[in-house]
């Protein structure tokens, strides 16, 4: 059974279409990166998945309708919106007590063990903690919940690079296994590239790319081409060309590796570079009829 299954998922706020009928299917045990520019519809998609907003179309999360069966669903789904939503007046001990009080799948000992690895004091209020510590606290609470689906919406926003790195490392090493599914949105795509199993680009409410990371690595190639081969490379129809230190970097979609190897050094592009190429092209296309 797919963890998340959507068909024709649509959501409009007045005249603004936030989600324009997307289809998606996320199998259990995957880590999906949902990447898109601001206003692409990422947060709307996550809100629909979490049952925070009504929508049109079909959507099933863990076999349930998230809007109508939200209360039951939330026992199996965890959610970190961004680091700022823990109540600032709350003490760390109160946060642990509260989640232990209301959540049937919360393992208090595990949360305590995770907190013991940090410098967070039980008597501190959230407002007294640094941003990074709040993220650690939230992650400790969430990781102690035996959930099937974890949704992360910009979980590392505003954190320094040490906290960001340890956030994802902890998540991957101490939490993730094949029975769980993670959906993450972030603008810091370079940092999630190595943990994702699937990648989805969203722009203007539509899915513009949907691939597993294995397929991504086979399909896309970045080639550093010497000037004398540049014309030859252009003939192969690259997605994007940019200049770096006097050489041309070409990004190709499904072009034979051997032919590319003849042009220069071939490597897997970063998600960020592909994002710029794909979304940039999509944006340009959107502006053309208007111009």
């Amino acid at each position: 059974m797919a963890c998340i299954e959507a068909r024709g998922l649509r959501k409009a706020y007045g005249a603004t279409v936030a989600l324009d009928g997307i289809d998606l299917s996320v199998e259990t045990g995957r880590i999906l990166g949902l990447i898109g520019p601001n206003g692409a519809g990422k947060t709307t998609a996550l809100s629909a998945i979490l049952g925070l907003t009504p929508y049109q179309g079909e959507l099933k999360v863990l076999g349930r309708d998230p809007w109508r069966e939200r209360d039951e669903l939330m026992a199996d789904v965890c959610f970190i919106a961004d680091v700022a939503v823990l109540p600032r007046w709350m003490r760390v001990s109160q946060a642990v007590d509260y989640v232990a009080g209301v959540h049937p799948r919360f393992d208090r000992a595990k949360a305590e063990a995770l907190l013991a690895k940090t410098t967070i004091k039980h008597t501190s209020r959230v407002r007294e903690l640094s941003k990074g510590m709040v993220a650690q606290l939230h992650l400790a609470l969430v990781m102690a919940i035996d959930a099937r689906l974890l949704v992360l919406d910009e979980p590392t926003l505003g954190l320094d690079i040490l906290y960001r790195k340890s956030f994802y490392d902890t998540l991957l090493n101490d939490y993730f296994d094949n029975s769980r599914t993670i959906v993450v949105t972030t603008h810091q795509v370079e940092e999630v590239q190595h943990i994702l199993t699937d990648l989805m680009f969203l722009n203007r409410g539509r899915i513009v790319l949907n691939t597993s990371m294995d397929a991504f690595e086979q399909r896309y190639a970045e080639v550093m081409v010497l000037p004398e081969h540049a014309a030859e490379a252009r003939a192969l129809g690259p997605l994007q060309e940019r200049q770096v230190f006097g050489r041309s970097l070409f990004l190709f979609d499904t072009v034979d590796r051997d032919r590319l190897a003849a042009l220069g050094e071939v490597r897997t592009p970063s998600i960020a570079d592909l994002f710029v190429a794909v979304i940039g092209a999509d944006q340009a296309e959107a502006q053309r009829p208007a111009a």
Binding site: G29, A81, M90
Partner: protein
């Protein structure tokens, strides 16, 4: 079907701890008390101020003044004045606390975006709103009762010291102003007020769930506007009368009352009349309206997003 699915099906899923249905409710009420300490701090602080005032007054005021009031035809009534005054002031303070608590109850969590945290946990909107409604309906009356009783006991203890100094036997006061009966009356009054005021709390909660800002203006503006409009357009006072009745009608409904020759209503606070209260249409109409308002507040909690 994919391989992952098969693995998933074979994995033993941990049996969730069995939580009773009331546990999320209990913890939701606790978290309201953590967040809004004014629920018990404000009535207690009011009591402290009243007590300090009474004490300093008793020392400062010329003693003959006290003696004169004691020599009155009904000394018991005079002895009861500080008790009743303290109780009334604490009661009003609790109402004010409830008023502002309700205005912030559903708006605050949207404004600071913590609603995203609360909603990430398996606590339904209904449980949350009922827990919040329980603050003015149940928790505040209980707190008010406790604070008033403690205040009475402190006044009583002080009276034993002060009254003999002005020549009034303190134990006589107990027989003339029976505290235990007063407390039973107080419990009755608090229950009646809670039920009678339910639509006020419901209205405030709905405004809190709906308004993006200026909850106070949205809460008091429309009722005032309606009153003024009715007066100007039709020259009548029905809205005004309904609003007044909702604030203080509980007293006439819950206690025996007599009409004097001039047509003024006198409430006899010693005469509890539960039958009259239960059979008054105002109570039931109010409860039905309150149920509707709270249901609308639950719907607001479900639909509204962070501000």
């Amino acid at each position: 079907m994919s391989i992952q699915t098969d693995i998933d099906d074979d994995l033993p899923t941990l049996p969730p701890r069995i939580l009773s249905k009331t546990r999320p409710f209990y913890w939701s009420v606790r978290r309201e008390l953590w967040e809004n300490r004014s629920i018990y701090v404000a009535p207690a602080a009011t009591a402290a101020i009243v007590l300090a005032g009474l004490l300093i007054g008793a020392i400062n005021l010329p003693h003959h003044h006290l003696v004169v009031s004691m020599d009155d035809s009904s000394p018991g009534k005079a002895a009861g004045i500080p008790f009743e005054a303290a109780g009334a002031i604490i009661l009003i303070a609790s109402f004010v606390v409830g008023f502002f608590y309700c205005l912030g109850a559903l708006q605050g969590e949207r404004r600071d975006r913590t609603i995203l945290f609360w909603k990430s946990l398996p606590v339904s909107d209904l449980t949350t709103v009922v827990a919040k409604a329980a603050i003015p309906l149940v928790v505040l009356p209980v707190v008010t009762f406790a604070v008033i009783v403690v205040t009475h006991l402190i006044i009583l203890a002080a009276s034993f010291v002060i009254l003999p100094m002005v020549g009034f036997p303190a134990n006589a006061m107990l027989t003339q102003f029976p505290l235990l009966t007063t407390w039973v009356d107080l419990i009755y009054l608090l229950i009646c007020l809670s039920l009678w005021h339910a639509p006020i709390w419901g209205w405030l909660m709905l405004v809190s769930g709906w308004a993006r800002r200026a909850t106070f203006l949205w809460a008091v503006g429309p009722p005032i506007a309606l009153t003024v409009f009715e007066r100007l357009a039709f020259g009548t006072h029905y809205v005004d009368a309904i609003l007044r009745d909702r604030f203080k009608g509980a007293l006439t409904a819950a206690f025996g009352s007599t009409m004097d020759a001039k047509g003024h209503l006198h409430i006899d606070a010693d005469h509890l009349d539960p039958l009259k209260f239960i059979s008054s249409p105002g109570l039931w109409i109010g409860l039905i309206v309150a149920a509707g308002l709270f249901a609308a507040a639950v719907r607001q909690r479900r639909y509204r997003t962070p501000i």
